[in-house]
Symmetry: none
Subunit: 218 residues, 4 copies
DNA sequence: CATGAATGAGGTTTCATTCAT
DNA sequence: AATGAATGAAACCTCATTCAT
């Protein structure tokens, strides 16, 4: 599609992009950022492309130069969120589970809740998109699978034949946490204080994953 | 106003309705049933009122005579699903948990999966509506709370002060099951065989709810 | 249309009407009165039959039992207004013109303004109907012609051959007064104080109808 | 933004418009002209936007690109009519009144009648709109006020303190003429031959405005 | 590359009107 | 005589999308 990129683009960090290319990326960026704001304000279904282009101060037709449709921008917005999360989050979870102590687990879960609190604005849109758009749901599953890949420390503790079941369990617990956070933090349809919530979840994980309780003794 | 109904009308329960009333209810019923079909086919967001009235072979204006908008019919469709579920399902769950044996629990969860399999067609719409419509989400929460009310047998086993936490745990496990079923049975984004799924969930519940494992009697 | 009115109806005042007939008239009356209120509130075009039946607390279908359409009720409402006006108003005008003095004329015009002020609420609807409905416009012309019939005193002063032109002139002046009142009193698009308005019109009539000015001497 | 227009664009009056602009104006023009035809055929209230776009062979959405609603196009149509009238008409009236002779006045009024005859088709819509839409009524008042501004010749004949009253009188006579023309020429609810009408009006104006009758010289 | 203009396809809603009761 | 239910037509409006510039 690009005809004359004078040299290799997208390798390291600060390659020289042609002026055009740079403008193009900037516009794309503007659209993505505007889209995020719009999705936060209006959710997924209610957000129209008109809303997005208006927010980005870009012509509606320009949008179609960069994205095929609403789902496409949404995926880009969502990808950013996931990128931000994935690296740290999962690795941390592995550490916490490997340590296996209540304190470690609590730390991890506390961070998870914090992440939810930060992202609260965008999450209704994400849930909506996930419920209505199979493609988005598939991405979410990918993420759960990435998680599986990161659990090397934790899974290493178990004999080969148990690992699949263990991995699945953790995935289920994460899924449950997701739901819970969504209903309590985002939708507020479930009303529990943060501390109580944290205690509850922590206890539940300890039992469900059969981790040693409380005092990690000698 | 009614001149001639020679004897008591409208007392007990399944009384003679006036002809008018009956026709009216039939039309309403047709709309609700058609709506269900449409929601099953197209999900919530993509379903238009035109689709529904076309399916019900009823004039568009007639729809508005019975319902204020799409959300209103949806609520009626959803209410039917819940009614169908609630009575049996929760009571059964209470029994299973009270028995506390793996076999009993497995039986219950098997029934739950069966329910999900039956309802699979409508569930995408339900999830969509729940994600985008706070009111529908609130109904879902109500249902979880009804559940709590039915757990008399199970909760009775615990001392007063533990009950709240226990109740919450069960609710969380149900929530998790919901999610899991949705992703595996409905969206099929998670691929697990039914047996494996059942084993997994059963084990997880036993641990999470700290029920006695396997053979109880002997 | 009436099958069994036991005796002549509509002659004097208190003929015995059959019960049905009486109910019928009452309903009709309710509709007309409600219609008037609605026309006053919303004008002619914006008033819907639904508005009227809602205001009359009568079923929409009932409306069609009494009137063919909106124009039909409007005509009945309008007829009442005209009835109320015609008798006094025109006779008075004849007297004023016959007297021919400024004082007399001023009295008449003052009453005319008062009438406009009273009717202000309904007039926008009347004007609207008159502009869009030829039939209503025809009624208005009828009224102007009735006026002509009442001017016996005034026209009697002139020789036979002049009378037509004189009559026409008066009609034109009334028409002008109508317009003026509508713009000033009802639409308030023309802003003049009442006194100034009265002076102006009075002077204009004196000139236009060539009446003797001011002091009616000897 | 325009890079290459080598020399001055858009200065004087009938400049080169960009191709885009020109196309846009053409479309707008088509809509306005079609609207006029539709208003002539169906009046104001009965004319729908669908009628207009069908007549213009333009998509309904295109309409909304150019106008906010029916009232907006109507105002543009009406503005054209007024533009066409204003310049000549009022100036002519001033001349006629300044001359003050019956012949001159008759000439003016004859032209006025001719204007009404030309515009007859659109006038029902105009009256309708004026009756139901206060904004349109306000424009009509503006026009009467413009008239006032043009009467320099005529008003100059009177002492300062009389001018206001004189101006108002002329305005009233114009208003009356409007009404009369509407009822006779457009609605034909008043039936008078053109000559008789002209005589009548002419005489009436002479008296009302106290102009010298008939023979001017001597 | 970006844009203004135009389109077509729907969607929701409101009305006037007619039947069967 | 009065009504509740149903209808069909149409109105208005909004969106996603595509051209020509």
């Amino acid at each position: 599609m690009r005809l004359m990129p004078p040299s290799s683009a997208d390798e390291p960090a600060a390659v020289l992009l042609s002026v055009r290319e740079e403008q193009r990326l900037m516009t794309r960026r503007r659209i993505v950022q505007a889209a995020r704001r719009v999705f936060e304000d209006r959710g997924y279904g209610q957000a129209s492309i008109g809303d997005i282009t208006k927010a980005a101060k870009v012509n509606r037709a320009t949008f179609y130069l960069h994205f095929a449709n609403k789902a496409a921008v949404f995926n880009e917005v969502y990808a950013e969120v996931r990128q931000h999360q994935t690296g740290r989050y999962w690795a941390m979870l592995d550490e916490g589970l490997t340590a296996g102590t209540e304190a470690a687990l609590r730390g991890v879960l506390d961070r998870a809740l914090a992440w939810w609190e930060e992202q609260a604005a965008l999450l209704p849109a994400i849930h909506e998109a996930m419920a209505s758009d199979l493609e988005v749901a598939a991405r979410w599953k990918d993420q759960l699978d990435e998680l599986a890949g990161e659990l090397r420390g934790y899974l290493g503790q178990f004999p080969e034949e148990e690992r699949d079941a263990r991995r699945l369990r953790v995935q289920l617990m994460v899924m449950q946490l997701d739901q819970l956070c969504f209903r309590t933090i985002v939708q507020k349809v479930f009303v529990i204080e943060r501390d109580v919530l944290l205690d509850l979840v922590c206890d539940l994980w300890l039992d469900s994953l059969q981790l040693r309780r409380g005092s990690d003794p000698s």
